[in-house]
């Protein structure tokens, strides 16, 4: 154990093709976290592979939004998403229409509650109190409680069968770094799912990432897929 060279490091992280990685997702009715905010940090290449595997359907998606033009939206347009949990679906007109026609269920959560529920879901904390949404419609039906004369809402943490996330670089042990605001929900979702599949732009040797700057240690990672850009 003690003095190990980079080429001796073996972890449980697997390096697979997108197809092989997506083959690990339960076929029907999986809960699936998908990283990204706006256009930034969406695992588009992995989502393409999900689209290519028809039996992955009846999905419950946890994603801040469903960005128009993204492959997550394509998956929705294929009627493969039965429910979406996130903070902002307003700008996607097709989602609005589907919701009105009863074709998709939406659970709206304030964005800060969503992000903390992800992080705590991955941290073994099942529930927490937040001031956010206290006294609003989004707190209706939820338990509330006063601490120091302020009202707080009991929120439950999130976990999922799968997280599809997007990172910038992985080393061959599975440690991850992100790029600028493409980080967003990705490191949190990595912590919160039973199976974390990561799309990366580059895979580097063990030892090439600064140990002080690794954002997601490999303990939270199961599978890494290098994005292949079509020529």
């Amino acid at each position: 154990m003690q003095n190990v060279k980079g080429n001796q490091v073996e972890t449980n992280v697997q390096f697979l093709t997108a197809e092989d990685a997506i083959a690990k997702i339960p076929a029907n009715g999986a809960t699936m976290m998908v990283g990204g905010f706006g256009d930034s940090g969406i695992p588009e290449y992995l989502l393409q592979a999900v689209m290519n595997r028809d039996e992955v359907t009846e999905l419950t998606i946890m994603s801040n939004n469903i960005t128009e033009g993204s492959n997550l939206n394509e998956l929705f347009l294929l009627n493969r998403i039965k429910k979406a949990i996130g903070s902002y679906f307003t700008t996607n007109k097709a989602v609005m229409k589907a919701y009105n026609e009863g074709r998709i269920d939406i659970e709206l959560i304030p964005q800060g509650t969503f992000s903390e529920a992800l992080r705590l879901g991955g941290s073994g904390i099942p529930a927490f109190y937040t001031p956010t949404s206290a006294g609003t419609e989004l707190a209706e039906g939820k338990e509330t409680r006063y601490f120091n004369n302020r009202e707080y809402v009991l929120e439950h943490s999130l976990s999922a069968d799968v997280a599809l996330i997007k990172a910038y670089k992985a080393d061959k042990a599975g440690n991850l770094i992100y790029r600028k605001t493409a980080r967003n929900f990705n490191p949190l979702m990595a912590m919160a799912a039973d199976l974390t599949i990561v799309e990366v732009e580059e895979i580097v040797e063990v030892g090439e990432l600064d140990p002080e700057s690794i954002v997601t240690p490999f303990i939270f990672v199961d599978v890494i897929v290098k994005r292949v850009v079509n020529a």
């Binding site: 307003t90 609005m96 709206l108 964005q111 006294g135 992100y178 493409a182 980080r183």
Partner: protein, 223 residues
Amino acid sequence: MKLESIRHYIAWRAAQELKKGIVNLGIGIPTLVADYLTPGKVTLHSENGILGVGAAPAEGFADRDLINAGKQPITQLPHTSFFDSSLSFAMMRGGHLDATVIGALQVAENGDIASWAIPGKDVLGVGGVMDLVAGAKKVIVTTTHLNAKGEPKILSRCTYPLTAKGRVDTVITEYAVFKIRSGQLYLEEIVAGISLDELKQITPASYEVSANLQRVNAFDLVK
């Protein structure tokens, strides 16, 4: 004033409240506030995970991985840091932001704010505004005094779904600046060209006129 001038005046006026510190700007009029801040004094935070939001990039230099919460391309500054959404909202909800400037559909005399949903319309988005209003040390609302239908927005009680209860500190419109102190709404500033009575008629909220009421000329103020 034309609507665009009005929006810029309100943004400029909000910027006068922000001399130093860390601020999160919402979408709409608040976005315009950035143009009126003294360079280097105020640092902008965006909830998607950046402290130190720089200007829009030059044409052709947009980076898909560098956006603000309004999904617009931005640039980074020398003191910029990046972090995940959880830490970003810890900053907001934990009371670390000096101020936020946000828009509103309605504001009430008790500091309640409604900004995310209209009754009878589908509401499938809330974003980060509830966390922002729940946590920022100072909540500044920038809004036109009346909505597009000509209805007042500063009311006794909000009739639209609330964003948060009792969290608003300051309301800035094209006609006036109101502040809430100890649960009481005060008129602090009124622009030239509108009388106190005229303001009252378009402001159903009950408010006191501040002992230090300022009368300002909006047209002169905007550069």
